[in-house]
Symmetry: C2
Subunit: 224 residues, 2 copies
């Protein structure tokens, strides 16, 4: 990697979340902020996502991608892992603790997120079907089971395993997709966990940066 | 880790796949075989999965878990990653190629698998609803999109990025869940990819070991 070039992240030019920091570039922005590494952001339109130049970087036509010099990666979990390998602060130095944090990274994206994304998918693609309400009840039941299990494990701890790690970062981003829904509010320990993460200065800087894309204030000073 | 003890994997005592090697212990067994590391397997009943001793190892009440001495991990992706860190043969030595292989590990479990598991979930929990067929058509459409994208990326290559890696191992396990469905058969390059992986001696040894649990022949010599 050219030492003078910054890693380049792709994000939605017009995020469907309207700046709420739920698109998957947010985890990568947050990870860069946690380790104090600046990055360039290249905005991509919905039509560009499905075209060949972007598909060469991301075969499924999604964001984010991240280029570290000649190295082009996709999948927010893998990009966060790469940032953690290049910088201290996202994974513990101890080999065992590191392996357990990686376990939580996979649990976030492979076990908890699919249940939550299934809900968004049902809201988006099935809302006009006569059986929508009946199916949403099945979808929500699955989320309730996962959240109860996660809350039981977290208990009174601040983070999932010792200090804050990339596992918490990815898990919190997954939980944030539930927004203010009653599903999350049913578990005060999970609400407090998300609040604790959102209070981190690195989260706040990353959130402001992605919001600025939506508001069009990127690069301008805040209003007085 | 006690150097005389083997890693201990958990698997279903009675796998719902009837020995077809689709349960998530299969990826871990296969990874151990690829690197030539023996493991002990502890079988767990469905009721034990949801009880406190197993929940202490796996908060979501699933298999597999894997104990490496004092280190207890869950999530098949994370366990395969740990095996790859302890042994050569599952991730490339070159840092960039290694990061790309990790990208495919995440793509397998976070992007491709959820679409396929959604189908199994619909077959299991919604098959008696009057709208089942209508919804299956939506579910299958999402799988078709993912498979077409994956097939386009794989093209005429043997593996997703250079040599066989843990990314291929996890992706093939995900595709194998589709069994002989027309969804997979629509993409001859993906069928050939799965066949190529299943022809690996390590796959075959792992498959035989999990099948022996189902047939009750574990530890017995093969029939003459």
């Amino acid at each position: 990697m050219n030492p003078t070039s910054l890693p380049t992240l792709t994000a939605f030019a017009a995020s469907p979340d309207r700046g709420r920091g739920l698109a998957r570039d947010m985890a990568v922005r947050w990870a860069f902020e946690e380790v104090g590494q600046a990055c360039d952001v290249r905005l991509v339109s919905f039509s560009e996502l499905k075209e060949a130049p972007h598909r060469a970087l991301q075969p499924f036509g999604q964001i984010p991608t991240c280029q570290f010099g000649d190295l082009a990666l996709f999948e927010s979990g893998a990009i966060v892992m790469q940032i953690a390998e290049r910088h201290a602060g996202l994974l513990p130095a101890d080999a065992g603790a590191r392996a357990r944090a990686i376990t939580w990274m996979f649990a976030a994206v492979a076990t908890v997120e699919p249940a939550i994304v299934a809900r968004e998918s049902a809201l988006f693609t099935e809302h006009d079907r006569p059986w929508h309400a009946e199916r949403m009840s099945l979808v929500d039941d699955r989320i309730r089971v996962r959240l109860a299990e996660l809350a039981a494990r977290l208990g009174t701890a601040d983070w999932l395993d010792g200090d804050f790690s990339a596992g918490d970062l990815l898990m919190v981003q997954v939980l944030r997709r539930l927004g203010g829904s009653e599903l999350l509010r049913a578990h005060p320990v999970l609400v407090a966990y998300v609040d604790r993460a959102e209070a981190r200065p690195a989260f706040q800087r990353a959130f402001a940066a992605q919001l600025a894309v939506f508001t069009g204030l990127k690069g301008r000073p805040p209003a007085p």
